[in-house]
C-alpha cells in the first residue's frame, strides 16, 4: 500500500510514463502546448480589453501619465513581489536552457504575464510575445520538474512552451516551431522537433477554439513584378539599418537608465511618461500596435512619406524608452510595427522617385518590412519568413520575403555579430549552444577529470627514499605534503630533478623539500575548465595540481581532458 502511495506521489515513476521516452515527451508536449497557449491567449485578451477600455481616456491630457503608472507598477511588481529582473525574459530562457538544462522558476510562468500586462496595457510600447514565451517556457520547465524528467527532456518541453505560446498568440504553428528551435534551443534534432511541432499544433488549436481561426493580419492579393523584387534589396538595407538602430537605442537607453541613481520604479515611470507624452501626439506608437499593423497591411494608412518615416523612428524611440527604462515586454510586436512603417515609408519613397513605375500595393512592402525587421533583430531568418507568411496568409510574397530576410540578417550580422536576444549572453560568455567548445567545457568539471594516481611525498624525505617511490610510480609529478598537517606545500616534477637522480653523491644529502617547486600554480575544484586551459596555455604546461583547502586532491592534465572532451563531444552531438 505504501509502495503504491509512494508511486502515486511521484508521477514521474508511473510505469506508463517510463515505457517509452518519446511517447512520454509527446504527451507532455500536448499538455505544455495547451497550457502555454492558454497563457498567451489570456494576456492577449487582457491587453485587448485594457487598451479598448483606456482608449476613451487617451484624449485627456493626463493620459500621458498612464504608461508611467503602468511601467512603475510593473517594475514594482517584478522587483518587490516576485523578485525577478526587468526585461523581456527571452535571454533568461536561453541562458537557463544552455546552462541549467532549462530549469526555470514556477513564478516565471505568470510574473511576466502580469508585468507586461501592466506595461503594455497602460500604453507602453512593447510586445506581449516575449513575456508569453517566458511564461510558456516556465510552464514546460515546471511540468518537466514535477515529473522528474531529465535535462534533455526538460529542454525539449521548454521549447514546447515557447512554441505553443508563439503559435497561439499569432495563430501560427510553423513560426512557433521555428522560433523555438532557431532562437530558444539552437539545436535541430528529431528529439526536439517532434514534441515542439506537437506543442505548436496544440497551442494553435487552443487559439482557434477560443478565438476562431482568423489570420492575424489579413491582406489583399498582391501582384508582384520583377522590379518589386529588385526594390526589396533596398528595403532590406533599410530594414537592417533600422534593426541596428533599434538594437543600439535599446541598449544605450538601458545604460542611461542604469546610470541614474533613482529607484527602478521611478526610472520606469519617467520613461513611461515620456512614452505617454509621445503617444499624446502620435497614438500609433502606443501599446503592442497590432491595430497599426493591420491598417498598414490593408493599405489604409493615409499619411505621407514624412509622417510614416517619423512614426517608424518615434516607435523606435518609444520602444527604447519603455523597455530601456525598466518596463516589461518584448520587442517582437514593436519590430512588426516598425517594420510595417519602414516598408510603407520605403514604398512612398519609391513611388516618389519612380512615379511612372507601377509598384505593388504598399501593404506588400509593409509586410516585407516586418519580415526584414524581425530577421534583422533576431538574426533568425527562418522565424522572420515563416512568421510573416503565417500571420498574413500571404504565400505569394515568399520570393521577396526570402530576399529581404536573407539580406537583412546578413547585414545585421555584419554590423552586430550577436542578435538582440543573445548579445548580453555572448558578452558574458554564457551562450552555450549544444556541441560547442564552450558548452563541452562548461559541462565537464574539474572533479570529472581528476587523476588520483599520484603518490604524495613529504618534504623531509631523503632523495634516496624518493627514488624508491619514483620506481613504483608511473607518473612524472609528485605532490609534496606536510607530514603533520597534510597540507600541500609544493610539487616535484621529474624533469626538474633528473640530473640529481643519477648522482649517487646527492642521494643521501638532498631532501625532497629542497627539490620541490613551492610556487607551483594550482587549480581549485570549482574552477572553470576554460580558465584552467588558459592558465595551462599561458605557462606552456600540460598538468596542474588540484588543491582545495590546502589539500592535494589530484592532478588535471591536458591528456585526460582531451580524452574526456572527445567523449563528451561525441555524446553531445550524437543522436540518442
Amino acid at each position: 500500500m505504501t509502495g503504491f502511495l509512494n508511486k502515486m506521489k511521484y508521477p514521474g515513476r508511473w510505469s506508463l510514463f517510463r515505457s517509452d521516452d518519446r511517447l512520454l515527451l509527446m504527451i507532455f508536449a500536448i499538455i505544455v502546448g495547451i497550457c502555454s497557449g492558454l497563457a498567451a491567449l489570456l494576456l492577449n485578451r487582457g491587453l485587448e480589453t485594457m487598451l479598448e477600455w483606456l482608449h476613451h481616456y487617451r484624449f485627456y491630457w493626463w493620459a500621458i501619465f498612464l504608461p508611467a503608472a503602468g511601467a512603475a507598477l510593473s517594475s514594482l511588481f517584478l522587483e518587490k513581489i516576485v523578485n525577478e529582473g526587468a526585461g523581456h525574459g527571452v535571454p533568461e530562457v536561453i541562458y537557463a536552457v544552455s546552462r541549467y538544462g532549462g530549469l526555470l522558476r514556477l513564478r516565471s510562468s505568470f510574473s511576466r504575464l502580469i508585468s507586461s500586462f501592466l506595461t503594455i496595457g497602460s500604453g507602453g510600447s512593447a510586445g506581449p510575445e516575449a513575456p508569453v514565451v517566458m511564461s510558456g517556457a516556465a510552464i514546460g520547465s515546471n511540468i518537466a520538474q514535477a515529473f522528474s524528467l531529465n535535462d534533455r527532456q526538460r529542454v525539449a518541453l521548454v521549447g514546447c512552451g515557447a512554441a505553443g505560446a508563439i503559435a497561439a498568440i499569432f495563430n501560427a504553428p510553423i513560426s512557433g516551431m521555428v522560433f523555438a528551435i532557431e532562437v530558444i534551443l539552437g539545436e535541430w534534432s528529431t528529439m526536439n522537433i517532434i514534441p515542439i511541432a506537437i506543442a505548436a499544433v496544440a497551442g494553435t488549436e487552443v487559439s482557434r477554439l477560443l478565438k476562431g481561426n482568423q489570420i492575424a493580419f489579413a491582406h489583399r492579393d498582391f501582384n508582384i513584378h520583377f522590379h518589386d523584387i529588385l526594390a526589396c534589396v533596398g528595403l532590406a538595407v533599410f530594414c537592417a539599418l533600422v534593426s541596428i538602430l533599434l538594437t543600439r537605442a535599446l541598449r544605450s537607453m538601458h545604460h542611461v537608465s542604469k546610470g541614474v541613481t533613482l529607484p527602478l520604479w521611478v526610472r520606469a515611470a519617467i520613461g513611461g511618461s515620456m512614452v505617454g507624452a509621445i503617444g499624446y501626439f502620435l497614438p500609433y506608437v502606443l501599446g503592442e500596435g497590432y491595430h497599426a499593423i493591420r491598417t498598414a497591411i490593408e493599405g489604409g494608412f493615409s499619411g505621407g512619406f514624412l509622417l510614416v518615416t517619423v512614426i517608424a523612428l518615434v516607435k523606435v524611440l518609444a520602444t527604447a524608452l519603455t523597455l530601456g527604462s525598466g518596463g516589461s515586454g518584448g520587442i517582437f510586436a514593436p519590430c512588426l510595427v516598425i517594420g510595417a512603417f519602414v516598408g510603407l515609408s520605403f514604398h512612398r519613397f519609391m513611388a516618389m522617385v519612380w512615379s511612372s513605375v507601377h509598384w505593388v500595393n504598399e501593404g506588400c512592402f509593409a509586410l516585407l518590412g516586418m519580415a526584414g525587421l524581425i530577421s534583422g533583430i533576431l538574426q533568425a531568418p527562418l522565424t522572420g519568413i515563416f512568421l510573416v507568411i503565417e500571420i498574413t496568409g500571404g504565400y505569394e510574397v515568399i520570393l521577396p520575403l526570402i530576399v529581404v530576410s536573407a539580406i537583412s540578417t546578413t547585414l545585421c550580422h555584419y554590423l552586430e555579430p550577436a542578435s538582440f536576444y543573445l548579445k548580453d549572453l555572448v558578452e558574458q560568455g554564457q551562450l552555450l549552444r549544444p556541441g560547442t567548445d564552450a558548452r563541452v567545457l562548461t559541462d565537464l568539471s574539474v572533479q570529472e577529470l581528476l587523476e588520483t594516481d599520484c603518490i604524495c611525498v613529504h618534504p623531509d624525505m631523503r632523495l634516496v627514499d624518493f627514488i624508491d617511490i619514483v620506481k613504483s610510480s608511473h607518473r612524472n609529478y609528485f605532490p609534496v605534503e606536510d607530514q603533520q598537517s597534510r597540507q600541500f606545500v609544493g610539487m616535484i616534477h621529474l624533469d626538474d630533478i633528473r640530473p640529481y637522480l643519477f648522482d649517487p653523491a646527492m642521494h643521501h644529502a638532498v631532501l625532497t623539500g629542497q627539490l620541490m617547486n613551492p610556487h607551483v600554480k594550482t587549480v581549485s575544484l570549482h574552477d572553470d575548465l576554460s580558465e584552467v586551459l588558459q592558465k595551462m596555455d599561458a605557462d606552456h604546461i600540460f598538468s596542474m595540481p588540484v588543491v582545495s583547502y590546502s589539500r592535494f586532491l589530484g592532478m588535471i592534465s591536458k591528456a585526460t581532458l582531451l580524452d574526456q572532451y572527445r567523449k563528451e563531444l561525441m555524446v553531445q552531438t550524437g543522436r540518442f
Binding site: R13, R18, G101, L149, N150, D151, R152, Q153, D443, L444, S445, Q447, E448, L450, Q564, K567, E568, M570, V571, Q572, G574, R575, F576
Partner: protein, 226 residues
C-alpha cells in the same frame, strides 16, 4: 543483463560523476526501477557503438601482469639446467654446446635459439664482466616457452667472449623468456646477484645445482624484503 553504475563507469573508462551527470542530462540510456537507476547491457552497447565510444566490461589489459605473476629467479633456474664442463674453444662453439645442454627443447627451437644468440652477440657482447655472460635472444623465440628458463653453464675452460672488462668468461646464464617483460624482470634480479663479489667468487668454484639455488634464494629474499 543489468549493470550497476560503477561497472558502467569502469566499462566506459569514465569517472562515476560523469555517468551521473549524463543520467541527469538524459544523454545515456537508463532504466529506472523505483528510484534506482539500472543499465541494460545490450542497450548500452548499442548506444556506445552509435556514439563511437569504447565500451568493454573486462577492462584490465592482458599484458599488464601484476608483479606477483612474474617468476622468481630460482624457479626459472630450476626449470633450466645446471651444466658443468661445457666444452668449446671459441664463443660460437661454446654457445652451441650451451644450447645443446637444454636438451628438453626440440631441435628446431634449439637451432632458432642458437641463431638468435649469435645474432645478439653480433650487436654487442653479453659478457658483463667478472667472467660472467648472460646470452639471450634479442626478441622472444617464434614459439617461446610458456615460462622463462635460465640454463646455468659452467665452461670447461674460460674463453674470450669480448666481455666489457676484457676478462675471459667462465659462466653463462642463458636466458629464454616468453615476453620482454619477463626478460627484464629476471635480468634485473640476476644482475642484483652478480653485483655481489662473494657470489662471483662462489661461482668461480663451479658449485652444484642445490648450492647455487640456495644462494640465489637468499638473494631473492633480500630483494623481496626491500
Amino acid at each position: 543483463m543489468k549493470l550497476p553504475m560503477k561497472t558502467v563507469a569502469g566499462g566506459l573508462n569514465l569517472p562515476v560523476s560523469t555517468i551521473d551527470r549524463w543520467i541527469r542530462q538524459g544523454r545515456i540510456p537508463i532504466q529506472r526501477s523505483g528510484i534506482d537507476v539500472v543499465f541494460s547491457h545490450a542497450a548500452l552497447e548499442k548506444w556506445a557503438a552509435t556514439h563511437n565510444l569504447p565500451f568493454s566490461l573486462n577492462g584490465s589489459q592482458a599484458n599488464d601482469l601484476p608483479p606477483e605473476a612474474l617468476e622468481s629467479l630460482v624457479a626459472a633456474m630450476q626449470r633450466g639446467k645446471v651444466c658443468h664442463r661445457v666444452a668449446g674453444t671459441d664463443a660460437v662453439a661454446v654457445l652451441r654446446s650451451a644450447v645443446d645442454c637444454i636438451d628438453f627443447l626440440s631441435k628446431d627451437i634449439r637451432d632458432e635459439l642458437f641463431e638468435k644468440l649469435i645474432e645478439r652477440e653480433g650487436l654487442a657482447s653479453t659478457g658483463i664482466g667478472n667472467g660472467i655472460a648472460i646470452p639471450h635472444p634479442r626478441d622472444p623465440l617464434s614459439r617461446p616457452p610458456e615460462t622463462p628458463i635460465i640454463a646455468t653453464c659452467f665452461l670447461e675452460k674460460p674463453i674470450d667472449f669480448n666481455a666489457i672488462d676484457d676478462h675471459p668468461v667462465s659462466v653463462f646464464f642463458l636466458l629464454i623468456s616468453p615476453t620482454v617483460k619477463h626478460h627484464l624482470h629476471l635480468l634485473s634480479r640476476l644482475s642484483f646477484c652478480i653485483r655481489d663479489k662473494a657470489f662471483v667468487a662462489f661461482l668461480r668454484a663451479h658449485p652444484d645445482g642445490a648450492a647455487l639455488f640456495s644462494r640465489i634464494a637468499e638473494f631473492e629474499k633480500q630483494l623481496d624484503d626491500l
